[in-house]
Subunit: 364 residues, 2 copies
């Protein structure tokens, strides 16, 4: 698709102009004519969005039902989704929603050697950024102890939806020594038991789950998460339970129950205690924080190469999270980086705990 | 308020006519000019609705904040709310929403000797009906092993909002030997420790909680539930998690966390394990039921004196729950009663489990 059809979406209220350093670009706020939400038209080119992948909740029937051919299995990493692309002379990182991410754009040179985008300027890297030093979510994989890491999982081409075939992608990732998600091999739909064992191994390693990609021209995909992921998500976000849709929590409890049902009791350890602890210990932390400081918040600490990008990130966060809910603590040079610390206020939880701990009446 | 002002609510789309054996009556579908939702105008009289009582989530601040005078403490029973009143020659039971409940109306003579309504036809009994033999909710107090029991907690007068004062109410309940909720005495706002101990005792006894009623002309009220209630509610309803608002579950987890925070770790036993088990064991039961019968449902078993009321109940249930979601299993005479068995289909859970266990893709 050349850039112009995306411009039609404006008339249908499904696209918006955004500003960036060199002018404006267009961002799809909703899917439009086959282009996913988050697709962007910039500098005369289109970078297609990364559509969400459906999840299966049961291996035995799910593999049979979803796949007509063998499929590749890759790690699903617990971070945020970005697309890295060359725009003019720069490499820009786009968020799932099609915003330019000032943090990822700033740190791109640290995350990977990106010669690939200089030698193949028509390519787009689809990747997860994960780690405790990221600005968006509070959780991170336990095997990343500091800052952030990049995990490429797909390559796209400018102006084209869809992804490069798996062998071509892997060859390029290897040739350019790009950091990629773990690759667990090619499975057939009757390898249910092998997949169960893989999921158990990933649970034990504290990994989020897998993405399965059919080895066929239709490249059909599905994801599946571990019990670790369900519980870790709850533990990591229950302190702002009132700032998320309640379905966020009930959905994860349901996934966990189906995981337990598929894997059987004996192999997993005490999921009941883990689940109850995730809820109650996480909330207990939020209550303690409110009692100490009369608010519930999370402090993010991110490193930047250029302090201007830290300011851009804060501006972006204030726009998406609410102006009063993001507050800078400090922005200071430390060694080669500028360290930004900011608090994200959990307004719903702060309000509820203030009311409840203060002895107010709740009607529900 | 005479009956006529309630009729004004029709013009504001806040009241509906309902049919009953002797004609029609009016039911407020929303609050209107100080009359709560569920108020009814019938046979020239008004029976005021029973408004919902706000809950406190913390004793220490809640008692101070809510009450300006000592307050009576009564058991909050886990059942459904009815108002029993004399209409013409009959005693009718009205649900919270202002419908005539065919089950409670049928069984009223078994639930209590209602001489009081013959000698004082201007009185209205506000009560909870609880037990495994009731048609509405699946949970019940562990101390009621079969059928249903009535627990009166307030008296009202026809055409008047508000309740009789506590001493007058208790005198009448005693004089007419009416079954009433447990009365735990009169407390002052500084008896926080005593109230904490009472709540712990009620948790151990499997009771839902307390309703506190200020001993003053304003008769201000607040309720507070036990950790037992939070966990028992989740265990009893998680099999139809997708048929209830997700906030039903997250709200109870929050209450539990605040209960734990107030009462401290040591006195309560392992709430973490209890909470996790309530979620996972309840869901596991639903999954098993789906695997056996390809649907998730609950079978209710209720006794009636008059089979016509059983048919009325089913009609009422089909109207409120959805025609296809209620199915009669049998209606047969057993001893002095007609036993109605019917299934309530949990359509959301049946659909979700069918999709998920069948290997379908879920987008969320």
């Amino acid at each position: 698709m050349p850039a112009s059809p995306l411009h039609e979406a404006i008339a249908h209220n499904k696209a918006r102009y955004e500003e960036y350093a060199h002018g404006t670009f267009l961002r799809l706020t909703d899917k439009y004519h086959g282009a996913p939400r988050g697709s962007v038209a910039i500098d005369g080119r289109v970078i297609y969005g990364y559509p969400s992948i459906g999840r299966i909740l049961r291996l035995e029937t799910g593999l049979q039902h979803q796949f007509r051919a063998p499929f590749w299995v890759e790690e699903k990493v617990d971070g945020y989704n970005v697309r890295l692309a060359r725009v003019g002379d720069e490499i820009l990182a786009f968020s799932r929603g099609g915003f330019i991410c000032p943090f990822t754009t700033d740190r791109a040179p640290d995350l990977a050697e990106l010669h690939i985008l200089r030698e193949h300027p028509e390519l787009v890297l689809c990747a997860e950024v994960a780690g405790p030093g990221q600005p968006y979510i509070s959780g991170h994989p336990p095997y990343i102890q500091e800052d952030v890491k990049l995990f490429v999982f797909d390559l796209m081409r400018l102006d084209q939806p869809g992804y490069l075939p798996q062998p071509e992608k892997r060859e390029l990732l290897q040739r350019y020594a790009l950091p990629a998600v773990q690759h667990y091999g090619r499975y057939t739909t009757d390898q249910v038991q092998e997949m169960r064992e893989l999921l158990l191994k990933l649970t034990a390693e504290g990994r989020e789950g897998v993405v399965m990609k059919e080895d066929s021209s239709r490249d059909h995909r599905a994801k599946l998460v571990t019990s670790y992921s369900c519980i870790d998500d709850i533990r990591g976000t229950v302190d702002h339970l009132r700032d998320l849709p309640a379905e966020y929590f009930t959905g994860r409890v349901l996934r966990l129950a189906l995981f337990l049902e598929e894997q059987g009791e004996t192999k997993i350890g005490d999921l009941r205690l883990q689940l109850g602890s995730a809820f109650l210990d996480g909330l207990s932390k939020a209550i303690e924080q409110w009692k100490q400081e009369q608010r519930v918040y999370h402090t993010h600490r991110c490193r930047f190469r250029n302090p201007e990008n830290a300011r851009r990130l804060l501006k972006h966060m204030k726009r998406s999270t609410g102006h009063l809910h993001v507050a800078q603590r400090r922005l200071e040079k430390e060694g080669d980086y500028y360290v930004l610390e900011f608090d994200k206020l959990h307004a719903g939880m702060t309000g509820l705990l203030g009311h409840a701990l203060g002895g107010g009446l709740v009607f529900d």
